[in-house]
Structures are given as C-alpha cells and as structure tokens.
Symmetry: C2
Subunit: 354 residues, 2 copies
C-alpha cells in the first residue's frame, strides 16, 4: 500500500518552498501572538502582570523515537505534548511553540506533511500557536527541536525548588504506561523481523500504545488547580521517570522524600504486560519515562482540597534533606531512589539494570 | 599533542551530571531574567511597554559545520552570533538564549567544555543570559539547537514586510567573506588529505577565516540606529546570502528591488582569494551566506542620516513588485536575482551553478 502513495522529493520544493509549504495554514490565534511564522523572529506580547516561561526540547531519530513503528502524525502530536509539558510544569499556560527540523533526504515531503498534521492537531487542541522554526538538511536521521512559550502571573509560577518539610507529594494519572507501550512496540519489532506476513499483537494493550505514541498534555490539571486556587509549592513534569524527577525536586528544594509503593497508580494494562514480559511494573513506573504526567507538592493542610480534584494521587511526603529519598514497600522496607535518565537507555538496558 | 589531553567520557557524568557540569557558572545577569538554567522552563519578565521576540536555529555537524577544521570554541561563539542575529534583525535587543545539544559518544566532556567556553564568551560579550537547554544522546553527529529571546518597544520592532517604493536598500559590513573563508578551509582540507606533515596555507586570509569561524553580531548597528532615531522600514539578517535574503524582503513587502553590483562592499581578501580560486567574488557576495550582516531599508529621505552612521552602504532601492528583483552591472545589464539557500549546498555545487 505504501508504494501507491505520492512521493515528492524535498529538493523539488527547495528549502524556502518547504518551510512555506509546511507552515501554511498556521494562523496565529492566541491573543499574545503579534507575529507568527515567516520573519526573522516571532513577536509575542506578554499579558500585563504576567511573566514569560520558555523551554526547549530536542528529539532524535534512533534515540528518542524509532520511525519503523512511530507514525509521523503521532510523533508530531507527541513532541508538542512534550514541549508543552515543561510549560505546564511551571503552572503556566502554553501559548506558542517553534519547531525546527533536521530532515534527511530519505523522507519525502508527504512524510513531513504527516508530521505537521500531528503538530497542527496538537496545536489546535492545546490552543497554542506555531510561530516559527526552520527546516535544515540533516545528513542522518530526523531531528525535531521545539521551543515552547507560556505565560503566568508571577505569583503563580511554580519552580522545582519550593517543596517544604511535610508537604504532600502528588502525581496525576498513572505511571509506566508509556514505558510499557515502548516495550511492546520493541517486542513486536523483534518478532516481526523473524516472521513472514506478520501481524503485530497489540490487542488488549491499546491504552499503552496511546500513552507512548500519543500522550496528552495535562492542561486540565493546571486549569483544575487554578479553579481550586491551589498553587503547588514545587512541580516537575514526569519525562525521565518518577525516580529521577522526584530526585530533581529534592535536589532543588534541598529536601528528602518518602513515597509509598502501594500508592503509586499503575494502570491494569501496564501491570498485565509487565507480568507477561517478566518485568516488574513498579520498575516501569519508577524508571520508565515519557509519561508527561505532573509531579508536585502541596502543603499538608491542602490534603482535602487536593483529594477533591479527583485527578491526583498522594503518594508520599517531603522529609528533611539528611534523611534521603526512599520508596517504602508494603512490608516496610526502604529502597533508595536512584536517578535513571530515560532517553539514553534502550529497553534492554533497563531490563538488565533491574 | 591532542593525545596528551585528558579525556572524560560523557557516560562518567551521566545525563544530569553533564548538564550541571556544562551550565555551571552561567549566572543570570540580564534584568529580565527571573529564572535561568535548572528548572522545567526559564522565566523571563518582559519590560513594560515592550514585546518579546523569539527565534530558533539548529546546526548540524556535516551540514552546517565540519569538525575536522572547526574549533569547538569558535563553533560555540558562532552559533550564539547566528541565534542573536535573528533578534537583531527585528531591531530588538537580545537578552537570553537556550542551548539544546545532541551529542554522540565520540566527543569527550572536554570537547563540550570547549564548545561551552565559546558559548560563555559570546554570552558575556553580547550580554545575554544562557537560561536553559538540555543535552541528549545523538546517534550520529553533533547537533546544536538554539533559541534566542530579545525585547523591544512595540513601535521599534522591524519586520521583513515594511519596505516601501523608493526606499533605500542598505547593508552593513562586507559580503562573501565568510563564504570564501569556508572555501579556503575546504581547499586546505582537500590538500591536507594528500600530503604528509602538512601545514595549511592560511596566510593573508586571516580575516576570511575569522568571518567564517568567529563572526561578530552586529549589535553595534542596532545601537547606532537607536541613537540616530532611525527605525528601518524592513530588515533581515544575511544568513542565506544577499540574493536569497533580499528576495525574502521583496516577497514579504510585495515589492521589487534594484541593487548595483559596483556598490556591493567586498573585502580585499575576499576578492583576492576568489581570483586565486577562479571564483567570481560577486557570486560569493550574492550567494555566500553566514555573513550575519544586516540588510535593511529606510525611506529615501533618510539618506543623509544613514550615511552619517558611517557603518552602512546603500546598494540600491526598492521598486514596484511587477518590475522584479535585479542586480545591475556597471555596463548596464540587469541580472535577475534568484533564491539560493546556503546551508544545503556544498561549495562545489555553488561553483557549478555559476
């Protein structure tokens, strides 16, 4: 089927033609966007009494994504989620993104159209404007670099450094699903290499695939916190895994933490696939990254308010720095939490490091 | 000599350790920086009555730079110049950058230290803060993605789209030097492949090397324009070559242009090397990119003011859209100006397309 698709070489459009082609139809809608794509720089007006937050992420083919099973449309959606997630983690409202591509000649224009369709869809859904970016040749794989911009009143911006003794540690959603989705895709890729006319086995694990291939931004959490007038004392987005990200909060806030294993929310499909693959679902939840959920702390006095949101689990509390960071098992054992970057690991290595 | 240098593998520091190591000592200084490196996002306060301008650029090893002759310290400096150049082209003052790296394991930590030394030096010289960025594994070459942020009063921001009939076309500095610097480096690389104990021949062309390897930002122009109370009608930075960049102004402003060959400023070293290499210096000036000079238009009535700056050459004027874009030769011939992206061309191809 793939062969019947039209294939337009990037060279046919040229560098400038390609940029024009890809960014066509991205009309700025946010009230803070003064000038979008097509000049040396975008122009953004910061709302009165607000500050600008800005963050950059880069995604590399073969390291951060594998095009053999990652549909480009989903990839476009996912990189926007990842970029926006950093803005949400500051308790700010995302408003603009720029997208900078490195493209190898092996990809036709139609592939980039798919990628941009995903970007366009995510921008529309999240109400952010695409305001800039360039497209360059890459000698090797696809490289996608995004910068996200957002705004928030100064007093509502939340850093990693504000967690206080006895604060509650809260997380949204459930953990490890994206990681198990990746494991599943990698497994099927290995299987398919050995079989003729293969049919990948994803049945029953659709949720895991969606969490890995098309994760949603938790903009709803930022809105819900604002409605309840809750300003977290510290916050981070879960992109590197609960373990690493909690350690970042503790390092910045100069504190320790105790989280309880039986309170970590893990989806049924995550547990089921982990068992099937002889993995520990808790390892997936702790070390698996790219969940793009939010990890934050609030004062103990806000326990009721937080529970009322119905969107958040309290998984532990902040302790003194000198006591360290621990995962407490149901039988009362303390396990030291260690940093574990997600992006530079292949699933095999994670499995080995268990 | 290279062998006696200490070599620390990136893996020894780990992903988070490396980011900490590289960004150590980047203390925010700009009055608009509220929060720098080390959180999910940087926080920037826009000065009252000003707007934020933002631009992203990505540089790929093997496409945008060749590490066999590009010292990493210079590369760090140059990418900051390139990023800032887009902010200057909006007539704005640069204030922050973020730097996102894709790093292959072949580079030791010491190489990245050199890169960051150049970045640090450029930031200090240009008075911009490094406020964020990440470092990821790249399976192939070095990839550097920068986002630059700046500020300007709304009424002083200059777009590409404001050029008017009869406006003067002005450029700063001289053109083609960076391109000839690249040609020289490529020539010596070819020669060195064939010779034992080689000594590259750069004597007499030091200026060209500096323009290519360590170009300066034209912040002085933005200050001089402000002092003389000149707000250009349109502006762009010369990164893709005079031809392409002038066409961008004409496209955005819906106008034509006539520029005069004998008014295009070309440095002596540029002409001399072009002759030596049997190249046309005008082709280098028109199609060679990465000069990071500024191209802008001002009303005819400002001719005296502009000349008084002593920093600018008037090379032509804006015409009606229907008349097209031409380079006028001394003997009165009109040559149609054509777009010619710089980054995707190897020097050989430019020579062939003459």
């Amino acid at each position: 089927m793939e062969q019947t698709k039209k294939r337009t070489e990037i060279a046919e459009l040229g560098q400038f033609g390609l940029i024009d082609h890809l960014t066509k139809g991205f009309e700025p809608k946010d009230k803070t966007t003064r000038l979008g794509v097509g000049d040396d720089a975008a122009v953004i007006a910061t709302p009165e009494n607000e500050e600008t937050v800005i963050s950059t992420d880069t995604f590399f083919e073969g390291v951060d994504f594998d095009l053999t099973y990652f549909p480009l449309k989903h990839l476009g959606y996912k990189v926007v989620t990842a970029a926006i997630s950093d803005i949400l983690a500051m308790n700010a409202t995302p408003s603009q993104i720029t997208v900078s591509l490195g493209v190898s000649a092996k990809l036709p224009v139609e592939a980039l159209d798919d990628l941009y369709e995903g970007i366009r869809f995510a921008c529309k859904e999240q109400e952010v404007d695409l305001v800039g970016g360039d497209t360059r040749a890459s000698l090797t794989g696809l490289v996608i670099s995004l910068t996200a911009v957002g705004h928030a009143p100064k007093e509502k911006i939340v850093r990693r450094s504000g967690a206080q003794l006895n604060d509650l540690i809260c997380i949204t959603g459930n953990l490890g699903a994206a990681y198990m989705g990746l494991q599943l895709l990698e497994r099927e890729k290995r299987v398919l290499r050995q079989v003729d006319n293969p049919e990948p086995q994803f049945k029953g694990y659709e949720y895991l695939l969606e969490k890995y291939l098309k994760p949603r931004s938790r903009t709803d959490i930022i809105s819900a916190l604002a409605e309840e007038k809750i300003v977290p004392t510290s916050m981070i987005d879960l992109s590197d895994g609960l373990g690493s990200d909690l350690l970042q909060i503790c390092k910045s806030s100069k504190c320790g933490a105790r989280i309880y294993l039986d309170r970590i929310p893990i989806a049924q499909q995550t547990s089921r696939l982990a068992e099937e693959m002889h993995n520990d679902p808790v390892v997936a939840a702790l070390n698996g990254g790219e969940d793009y959920e939010l990890l934050f702390t609030v004062p103990l006095s806000m326990q009721e308010q937080i529970m009322r949101l119905g969107l958040v689990d309290v998984i532990g509390h902040i302790t003194k720095e000198s006591t360290g960071c621990f995962l407490v098992t149901p039988d009362g054992n303390d396990i030291t939490i260690q940093a574990q970057g997600f992006v530079q690991q292949k699933p095999e290595e994670v499995a080995e490091s268990k």
